[in-house]
Symmetry: C2
Subunit: 122 residues, 2 copies
DNA sequence: CGGAATCCTTTTGGATACTG
DNA sequence: CAGTATCCAAAAGGATTCCG
């Protein structure tokens, strides 16, 4: 049995793969929102995400769609109607999102206590 | 009881917080490597990560250090000796890394079957 | 040995205006 | 309504040189 090679690269890293899909200023937020609101139209999303521009919303949605994480359903109507929802495959990201959320909640505390200590030391 | 506000921003998102720490081309790879190799010197790390430049290695290490994820220990010697290791706090990221790795492994399959289907459809 | 400094290219993100 | 298209600023990443 051979040893695992010690030479590592980002391209071979499974963690990096997963990470790449979630990276983007609004992607986690969009995903979380879709996960607990179910299907949403473009402008519904936009209203729920104050501060996002159309361009960014479109952009992030497209990237998530390319990765098969969300589904885009276009209705042939005037005016147009487009619905977005998380695919079943997309739901497989939930454990990751959950782990991150858990960690993030504790992290907030950690950061606060660090700042507190630094303030004391000053 | 008031409803949870539907207005969301990246800055309020715990998931985004966690994500921010792991983001960086080499951060996950460095972290994983340190996690199962224990303490490593700068050049040991560099050798284990072919393709990385000193600048990037320094850069990513500094950012992880700032977040208190890794520890940097400098020995007052000539020639210099600097050791890096994961802090206990850093180890709290393991569930996230694990979830990502698990997902990444399956994702590879998913991508392959997608490409396969596309090749067929051509 | 373990960097810092500089310069450059690429990638992201933002503002704004226009359109089927 | 749900987008494009442009242009621009900021951030990330890369190559190279120099240093205590």
């Amino acid at each position: 049995m051979k040893d695992v090679p010690v030479e590592i690269q980002p391209e071979m890293c499974k963690v990096t793969d997963a990470l790449g899909i979630l990276v983007g200023k609004w992607k986690p937020v969009i995903l979380l929102h879709l996960l607990n609101s179910g299907t949403q139209r473009f402008n519904e999303l936009k209203r729920s995400l104050p501060g996002i521009t159309q361009k960014m919303l479109t952009n992030q949605l497209r990237e998530l769609e390319e990765e098969d994480i969300i589904e885009r359903k276009v209705y042939a109507q005037v005016p147009p109607k487009v619905e977005y929802s998380v695919t079943e495959y997309g739901r497989s990201l939930e454990p990751i999102l959950h782990a991150m959320h858990e960690w993030g909640a504790k992290h907030t505390i950690h950061k606060q206590s660090k700042k507190h200590n630094q303030a004391e030391a000053k």
